[in-house]
Amino acid sequence: MTSRRRAFLWVLVAVLITLIFGFYSINSGQTTAVLAGTVRAATLLVLGAICGMICERSGIVNIGIEGQFLMAAFSAFTVTSLTGSLALGVFAGIATGLVLGWLLAAMAVGLKVDQIIAGTVINIAAVGLTSFFYDRSRSLGVGKYSPIELGSLADIPLIGRVFFSRPLLTYITICLIVLVHIAMFRSVWGMRTRAIGEHPGAADTVGIRVLRLRYFNATLAGGFAGFGGAYLALEAVGAFSRNMSGGRGFLALAVMIFGRRSPFGAYAAALFFGFATALQNQFQLNSTFDIPTQFVGMLPYVVTIVVVALSGLFGSMRDPAALGQTYEKS
């Protein structure tokens, strides 16, 4: 990270914090509502981004996150509605994600199918299969995950309501972000993963089994997307409907790149995006601007483009060197 870029980021953070407290002192209720909405909208995106990140750090492009979300949401919903257990539904979602992650690896690593095609296969198949087998009469049967207040932490003004009064899966997600970040940058696994993404040949010569680790990582990453799908069906919504992922798997991809393929970066990017979404809702609720919904609705996307373009000027982004390439032992 260049010093210019670091300075840019700190200025950005300082401005945001000042703004948030400024608004909080003017209207605490709305500020809390917007920030709570921010965290909520960010959760699914960051899970997808972590999935994409683990894949890309290992040299595999995963554009099948959308399909992984959808299939996992479907199976999480179906299992919960059959068993009445939310926990079993979450496991089913994760399992589905793992299977799809393995499938991606089997195609991309094993069969050497082009990775973008492999992801597209998962996406189309997910839309088709979940609609084809969607059971019209099924409902969840139990209430979705509801917020748990974390004791006195929940009483802290603003932050308490925003971060410490959340349903279970959001807490788990925040723990996962920290865990993956540490694992990616401080553990042997992380080092090896980054090695096979940057320079598989060299990694191979020092004894890392490139293909096996890619299989493992893509499968593991699928588990995160699967968890995201379960979150979508069992916590965020509490039902399943056709195409309910609504393009968020693709947004997660953008969030991952924007967050520079690190979990903390991705969470920052996801929060930023979630904030823009919650903010435009608030503009509508308050009738802040008398402009058409369609323009207010563009806000998150336009802002993202602008920020991505600007941050590009402050130090360019770089993909892992071996991204998208199949590795063949020579």
């Binding site: 609609s131 084809f132 483009i305 993909d319």
Partner: protein
């Protein structure tokens, strides 16, 4: 030569056959008859001139979208923004189509087409230019621009360009003037001929011109291209603009040849299908034509399949995914069919994902 052609057809044909067979098992598992279902699908897409017309109409935007994605692939760019570019093309073509009157067809129709293509070229060019100047990843930018284009076109058709011919009308523009309509010759929509023509032009540009060579050089090896004096930024920006224009033509043909106007929501998903088509065709502009026709045929027959055989139309998505899978993984086909096919190169596009 014939043998080579035959060889290159074996994989896709086998992939289609296998996809359909597995689809048949799924259909049977739902208690319907696969034979009735497929028969209905074929009849629905081929039986008479109406059915054929529908198949051609369905194939047209798919071909344009497939070309858009394929062209960008050649320069190592992934254009996920086909949907947005298609919408922009559709709305501006319709805008010129209904906004001007009194022009003869030979002027009005090309003008409307060009307006759509040009607007979409600018839309796609934004992503290319941003990538060239600030390194902003085209995947992020095109995804975001899809949403922006959706909202922009919805607004255009619900506010300034809204059809006010009656109360309580959904967001849509007035119908285009007859002089901007793309004609249909019997069962053959002229828009489809246009798509074929454009596909051939894409092939020609890529294979027979210096520009095409430069595009492919950038896609093949960016560093080598830079050292040989190719201006990467210019190629990147212009490739994305051309890619956007191709998708935009697809939208323009929809407005001018099929819908007769722009209406919010009727072009849903058409742009995304382009990715599938390009991949099915292995990014070959000529192969995009049969790929588009195949998927168009399935889409045209899907309603009849549901009507006659009670099969949910989503089955065609599943079949598409299977075909794509088998096309992309010829290893499996070779393993099953046991043929050795050395000329059958595996398709590699992911190389182009990287940005520098």
């Amino acid at each position: 030569m014939n043998k080579k052609l035959f060889r290159s057809c074996v994989t896709p044909v086998a992939a289609v056959a296998l996809g359909l067979i597995i689809g048949a098992i799924l259909i049977a598992s739902q208690g319907s008859s696969p034979i009735t279902a497929y028969q209905a699908m074929l009849v629905g897409g081929l039986r008479d001139s109406d059915a054929l017309l529908r198949t051609f109409q369905k194939a047209t935007p798919l071909i344009f979208g497939g070309l858009a994605v394929a062209f960008a692939f050649k320069a190592g760019l992934f254009n996920i923004g086909g949907q947005g570019q298609l919408l922009i093309g559709a709305v501006f073509a319709a805008g010129v189509g209904f906004g001007l009157d009194g022009l003869p067809m030979v002027i009005h129709l090309p003008l409307a087409l060009i307006a759509g293509g040009l607007a979409a070229a600018i839309w796609g060019g934004i992503a290319g230019a941003l990538k060239a100047t600030s390194g902003a990843h085209e995947v992020i930018v095109t995804i975001m621009l899809n949403f922006v284009a959706g909202n922009l076109t919805d607004w255009l058709s619900s506010s300034p360009w809204k059809d006010n011919s009656g109360d309580r009308i959904i967001a849509r523009t007035p119908p285009i003037e007859p002089s901007a309509e793309i004609p249909t010759w019997g069962a053959l929509p002229v828009g489809f001929l246009l798509a074929i023509l454009v596909a051939i032009m894409c092939w020609f540009v890529l294979e027979r011109t210096t520009f095409g060579f430069q595009v492919k050089s950038v896609g093949f090896n960016k560093d080598a291209a830079r050292y040989s004096g190719i201006r990467i930024g210019v190629i990147t920006a212009s490739t994305m603009a051309i890619s956007g224009m191709l998708a935009g033509f697809g939208g323009a043909v929809e407005s001018l040849g099929v819908d007769g106007r722009f209406e919010a929501g009727v072009n849903v998903g058409l742009g995304f299908e382009g990715i599938t088509i390009a991949l099915l065709a292995r990014a070959n502009p000529i192969a995009v034509i049969p790929a588009g026709l195949l998927v168009g045929l399935m889409q045209a027959g899907a309603s009849r399949m549901q009507f006659k055989a009670d099969v949910a139309p989503e089955i065609i998505d599943v079949i598409q995914a299977l075909i794509l899978f088998f096309v992309a993984a010829p290893t499996i086909l070779r393993w099953i069919l046991r043929f050795q096919n050395q000329t059958d190169e595996d398709l590699k596009l992911g190389v182009g994902w990287g940005s520098k």
